[in-house]
């Protein structure tokens, strides 16, 4: 439990209490928000999805210091992967496949999640391998180009073979089924009824917690320290015996993995994917979450992701009615205002709080103060 609250590492009881408190709040959250309708719960589910995405990007940008502007491409890869393997799209377009799979494709989520993760990681390596030698800002542009290429291909691969159905996207994607329970239907537990969004929220919450644990463990691992060494100075890191190439590739691959998994979840949740969900703006939004929260600091990134993903909901509920009251019509669209504020936030944060709203206490985590003298004394 002290894993989640490193500041309480000397008070295990307090850490356990804090963990249970946070868990209780997170489990109760949809019931509190849900009193105002399911849209709020949906926003919470998306917030969890964005936390996963932001934590994945944080590995690449925050830990390893490689600015990746095409991160959403991995999300797209995961989403399309699930869409193709769990929708009638392929079987209805390719009679040969339909003959082989008369029931159509309805793959289990347990197969699709690892597959999505693996395919996204593969794409991460494919992107990473040729661009590793590039300096930070070149890398940003190449990854941006990579993201755009993926989007252009998704948009145009409806001819001559209809793989992605082009700009219309893929519909009729199966919902997630766990142990025979479809998450698309209300689950009646006897004492409480859980609508579909609640179920997805809990699923995403579990995946997010797994992501957080993996990220914390990674951060404290040899690999995580190698990433931070590269981020600070890759020549010095090389001199210390770190294999810079492999370590950077691992950053790309692991970051992409989280992107891929959240992509599969996105596709299952929406039941529909189209190329426009994976534009450059989305990459920039995820980057803004990481930057705003605190580059390289896991709690900061979570904060940034939650703030920025719930913020549009808040805007929608305040800006539109306020404008209607003041001017009688909507002058600034909530969506436009959101993008503008994201842009301004990126500038202002970089100027005045370059380490984010909730920055890391020091450069990375110093392992010697963490489990040095104290841990040795206690056993």
């Amino acid at each position: 439990m002290t894993l989640f609250f490193p500041s309480l590492r000397n008070k295990p009881a307090a850490a356990i209490a804090a963990t249970f408190f946070v868990a209780a709040v997170l489990i109760a959250a949809p019931f509190i928000v849900g009193t105002m309708g399911n849209a709020g719960v949906r926003a919470l589910a998306f917030a969890a999805l964005y936390v996963m995405l932001a934590l994945g990007l944080n590995i690449v940008v925050g830990f390893a210091g490689l600015l990746d502007l095409g991160y959403i491409a991995f999300y797209a890869v995961g989403a399309y992967m699930y869409a193709l393997l769990a929708s009638p799209h392929l079987t209805s377009n390719f009679p040969a496949l339909a003959a082989m799979f008369p029931q159509g494709f309805h793959n289990s989520i347990w197969m699709v999640i690892p597959l999505g993760a693996a395919v996204a990681a593969f794409f991460g390596v494919v992107l990473g391998a040729p661009v590793l030698k590039l300096r930070g800002d070149y890398l940003a542009i190449v990854t941006l180009g990579f993201g755009e290429i993926i989007r252009i291909f998704l948009n145009n691969l409806n001819a001559p073979l209809n793989l992605t159905n082009g700009p219309q996207g893929i519909t009729l994607i199966d919902p997630v089924k766990i142990a025979g329970v479809s998450l698309a239907r209300t689950l009646d537990l006897g004492f409480v009824k859980l609508p579909s969004v609640y179920l997805y929220y809990y699923l995403f919450l579990i995946l997010t917690v797994i992501t957080i644990i993996v990220c914390i463990r990674l951060q404290d691992s040899r690999l995580g320290r190698a990433w931070m060494a590269i981020r600070e100075d890759d020549i010095a890191a090389k001199a210390m015996g770190i294999n810079v190439r492999n370590v950077k590739l691992l950053a790309f691959a692991l970051g992409a993995t989280f992107g891929g998994v959240s992509g599969t979840m996105f596709a299952a949740f929406q039941g529909f994917v189209s190329p426009e969900s994976f534009s450059l703006m989305e990459s920039i939004i995820v980057l803004a979450m990481v930057v705003l929260g605190g580059l390289g600091h896991i709690p900061g990134v979570i904060l940034g992701a939650v703030l920025l993903s719930l913020f549009p909901e808040l805007l929608r509920h305040t800006v539109v009615p306020v404008q209607e009251q003041l001017f009688g019509r909507i002058i600034i669209d909530a969506e436009v205002l959101r993008m503008m504020l994201y842009g301004l936030a990126m500038v202002v944060i970089m100027l005045y709080r370059p380490k984010g709203l909730w920055p890391a206490p020091e450069h990375g985590v110093n392992p010697s103060t963490r489990d040095g003298a104290k841990a040795g004394a206690s056993g």
């Binding site: 180009g145 755009e148 252009i152 145009n156 842009g343 990126m346």
Partner: protein
């Protein structure tokens, strides 16, 4: 053969525009080592202000000849772009000189988004038609057709680039710019005011972007709030292709990239037997970018080895 000449002409038009925009990137990069991500959006603002002023003028004086309106549009666009660019430099880039390299890049992305959303608020989300101001009758040229606008684009870009070369290589200001690019602190000791030089560099880049923006809108007859993004990205590719920081490199890179794209888009259908069509045009620029960065990161004309981390 007709397709070939036609695509070469189209490529030259596109390439001259890329070259003009790429100069803005490359000059700023040469001095500050900063990718001015908002450059494409400065171009967009230039094109849209020009469009608005042209439409206003046209409504007031319907008898004015087209070329005069065009000139008026450019004359309005240049100061607008210069002012915006100087504000961006002062507010978003200057305080971050000496900060880690990612910081100014992130503010640049932020500025780019702010410019786009502001433009969306001012001019709306829709595509706007840019009036055809120059005679639009096609001119036959070795079996291909050219419009006056396209000829003007090529001619004007060539003139501007020659002028810029003279400015950079022959004038006192040009010498100050080259000295600052070499080493700002030593240039400062030699009596050059680096801040002033940087501001002038941004101003020149912005004026080139303004001209390119108006030309771009005139060539394709449309303008909208997102029009700066793709040309900006491709011009950056062109700058990298020629060797970033290198002024002749940006020109060569721009023209080359324009030709590659036009010929690629013209022939990809034939080459792949119709599997891939011309809508993959945008992919070429990125493939070129990746190839250059992997095979020859210093670019075609670049000499300085890019190793500053």
């Amino acid at each position: 053969m007709d397709t070939f000449i036609q695509q070469v002409i189209n490529g030259l038009v596109l390439g001259s525009l890329y070259a003009l925009i790429a100069l803005g990137y490359t000059m700023v990069y040469g001095i500050l080592n900063l990718i001015n991500f908002a450059h494409g959006d400065v171009l967009m603002v230039g094109a849209l202000t020009a469009l608005t002023s042209i439409l206003l003028l046209k409504a007031q004086f319907p008898d004015l000849p087209g070329w005069l309106l065009m000139v008026a549009g450019i004359v309005v666009a240049i100061p607008t772009c210069v002012v915006i660019s100087l504000i961006i430099e002062r507010v978003a880039y200057r305080p971050l000189r000496g900060a880690p390299r990612l910081a100014p890049l992130i503010t640049a992305i932020g500025v780019s988004i702010v410019l786009q959303t502001v433009a969306m608020l001012v001019w709306g989300r829709n595509y706007m038609t840019f009036p055809s101001l120059l005679p639009s009758e096609p001119i036959e040229f070795f079996g291909a057709t050219v419009t006056v606008t396209k000829l003007v684009v090529i001619g004007m870009s060539a003139l501007i680039m020659i002028g810029l070369m003279v400015l950079v290589n022959r004038s006192k200001l040009g010498r100050a710019m080259r000295a600052t690019a070499e080493n700002p602190r030593v240039a400062g000791l030699m009596g050059v005011d680096p801040n002033l030089v940087i501001m002038i560099t941004f101003a020149i880049g912005a004026s080139l972007a303004a001209v390119a923006g108006v030309m771009l809108a005139a060539t394709y007859s449309v303008a909208h709030f997102y029009m700066g993004f793709m040309p900006g990205l491709k011009a950056f590719t062109a700058a990298v292709l020629g060797g970033i920081g290198n002024i002749p490199g940006a020109m060569v890179g721009g023209l080359l990239l324009g030709l590659i794209e036009a010929l690629g888009a013209g022939y990809i259908g034939e080459l792949t037997g119709g599997v891939l069509g011309s809508h993959y045009q945008d992919v070429f620029a990125f493939i070129v970018l990746c190839a250059v960065l992997i095979l020859r990161p210093s670019g075609l004309l670049g000499e300085r080895v890019a190793d500053r981390a």
